[in-house]
């Protein structure tokens, strides 16, 4: 039975980690290739979830909602890139931070105006809203298994794109040395637009898939954005491999901390102290992880630039 619990928590951690990966892969590419700190990445995630919830509600099909969310968000991403980001590529990071923070305010208030202040309901498709037996003695949510599968599939696809296509080659070149890539004739402008649309689409997938597990509401993007930044810093900026490793680490460590720390503490100290300290340390664990990684490897686990 202890093995079952361990396996279930591992699945929970991996599922969360893979969704974080979808968010952070885009973020790390935008930062690594385009050298843009995009705080509005979380807003794109939110937009994906909102569009998915709206379309799923109207059509009754969850997957139609996901598809619509991805397409709409990628389109909005292209629009944002053309109107705002293109103007701040050459500027310092702080200007980018201010501009994209302003975008967060605009997106949040826009969502509140369009969809109202209350959280939207996005339900798990009925055929998946039941537990399935994965081991004789262990049942697990079918929907979470699907999310896990989609996450693995998209991660594999992304690696194929990065390592086997021309776009991927340009992206890798851009991440490791932007000036050199430009000098060698990489069509930077087109690559930037494509990378941004791709990162918007990936975050929309994460938003739509996490919608039924979390909640579709204004502000959902900011909390998870911080986690995505933690992931890419652990992994090394610009490295998709790094963000995969970082995301899985963060997902598993966070879940393990919440699942096992409080009971571990309860055996070590008084229940009163344990119930105070346990949740606090569980929340801090991923930041502790990041601090340790940066202390040992100041450039993250998989540094891209020489």
């Amino acid at each position: 039975m202890a093995g079952g619990l361990l396996l279930e928590q591992l699945l929970n951690g991996l599922q969360f980690g893979l969704m974080l990966f979808l968010l952070s892969a885009g973020l790390t590419l935008v930062l690594g290739v385009m050298d843009v700190v995009n705080l509005a990445h979380g807003s794109l995630y939110m937009l994906g979830a909102y569009v998915a919830a709206t379309v799923a509600g109207a059509t009754g099909s969850f997957w139609a909602g996901v598809a619509a969310g991805v397409v709409a968000t990628a389109a909005v991403g292209l629009g944002v890139e053309a109107t705002v980001l293109r103007r701040v590529y050459a500027r310092d990071h702080l200007t980018q931070v201010l501009a994209t923070f302003a975008l967060i305010l605009v997106f949040n208030e826009g969502a509140r105006m369009v969809w109202g202040p209350q959280a939207l309901l996005l339900s798990v498709p009925p055929e998946l809203s039941r537990p399935v037996a994965i081991l004789p003695n262990l049942t697990y949510s079918a929907y979470r298994l699907v999310v896990l599968g989609v996450g693995v599939g998209l991660a594999a696809l992304l690696f194929l794109v990065i390592h086997r296509t021309r776009l991927g080659m340009w992206v890798r070149a851009g991440a490791s040395n932007r000036a050199m890539a430009r000098a060698l004739g990489v069509p930077i402008r087109r690559v930037f637009a494509l990378v941004f649309a791709l990162s918007a689409a990936l975050s929309a997938v994460a938003g739509a898939l996490l919608g039924p597990i979390l909640a579709v509401q204004v502000g959902m993007g900011e909390e998870i954005l911080i986690l995505a930044f933690v992931v890419i810093v652990i992994g090394g900026i610009g490295s998709v491999k790094g963000s995969l490793v970082g995301a899985l680490l963060v997902g598993v460590v966070d879940t393990a901390g919440r699942a096992f720390l409080p009971s571990l503490f309860a055996q070590l100290m008084s229940p009163e102290a344990a119930s105070n300290l346990g949740p606090a340390l569980a929340s801090v664990l991923i930041y502790l992880l990041m601090a340790v990684v940066l202390f040992v490897r100041p450039q993250g686990l998989f540094p891209v630039r020489a």
């Binding site: 930062l31 700190v37 705002v84 103007r87 701040v88 500027r91 990071h93 702080l94 200007t95 980018q96 931070v97 201010l98 501009a99 923070f101 302003a102 975008l103 967060i104 305010l105 605009v106 949040n108 208030e109 826009g110 509140r112 105006m113 900011e222 911080i226 930044f229 933690v230 810093v233 900026i237 105070n276 300290l277 949740p279 606090a280 340390l281 929340s283 801090v284 930041y287 502790l288 990041m290 601090a291 940066l294 202390f295 100041p298 450039q299 993250g300």
Partner: protein, 326 residues
Amino acid sequence: MRARNLSVEVGRRAAPAWPAGAPRALLWAAGVASLLAFPYAADTFGWDFYLSLATKAAVLALAASGLNLVLGYGGLVSFGHATYFGLGAYAVAVLSREGVQAAWVVWPAAVALCTLAALAVGAVSLRTRGLYFIMITLAFAQMVYYGVISFKRYGGQDGLRAPRTDLGFPLTDAGVYYLSLLLLAACLFLLWRVVHSPFGRALQAARDNELRAASVGFPVYPVQLYAFVLSGAITGLAGVLMAHHTQYVSPSMLSWPQSGHLMFMVILGGVGRFWGGVVGAVALVLLEEVFHSATVHWQLFVGLVLLAVALFATRGLSGLLEGRRW
């Protein structure tokens, strides 16, 4: 362009005292006088809400000016200054909860706590650069945040009351306003001296080119660490004042959105410009208030204004205010 700038500069210096210098001095005098007279006006006309708004702006101006020292002059983007702001405020509340009310104990203790915290965080974080520095300062801030909310005795998520400390006389709202202005002026004077000292030049040299600064013999790491600690202490002092202003501390003062808010004030006002923190804080407080009283969707308009500043005002608002002189 260059010639015109020069002529403006020369013209200003060469001009007789009355047309150029005196209005400026008069403007300053009028500004200071109206700031000093404001509480009386507020009392007479029932503007106590605006007195409170002005106090808030002054306190945030102090915090942002503290942050501007590392962010602007040091080029070190700290995404964890809410830690010092919040710790300063919490020190007031916690000491009062433990029965310590005397201002001459609480204030130095609060600032000392922030100094130590900044020393610890700075010593570790300054090993990293760029985005990694941003994130490691955030990491420490999050640890402090979750650490503080785990103390049920000190209110946890609910926050804690923070009665005003005992200065020997009762501190009114107007008193807090004057106190904030006084400390803001004192710290600005200190910051002015610091950034124009050899130390300040070394800090800016390290910002502009670290390798070069190190190779001409500037002790980059200690200089940056001193700046970080001083900045943390000033922001912590602002936190102390904030606790006196609101008489209540909440963990959201320690949270990352608060760090972001301070950062946006500095960027809005002008990074590395002496008045950047003050201008940014006052502008953001005013901006939020104007739109807030006009529409429920005020965040949209605040966002659009910030976007416009980011895209079109290269050096922040104080860059605009200074005109084309530099």
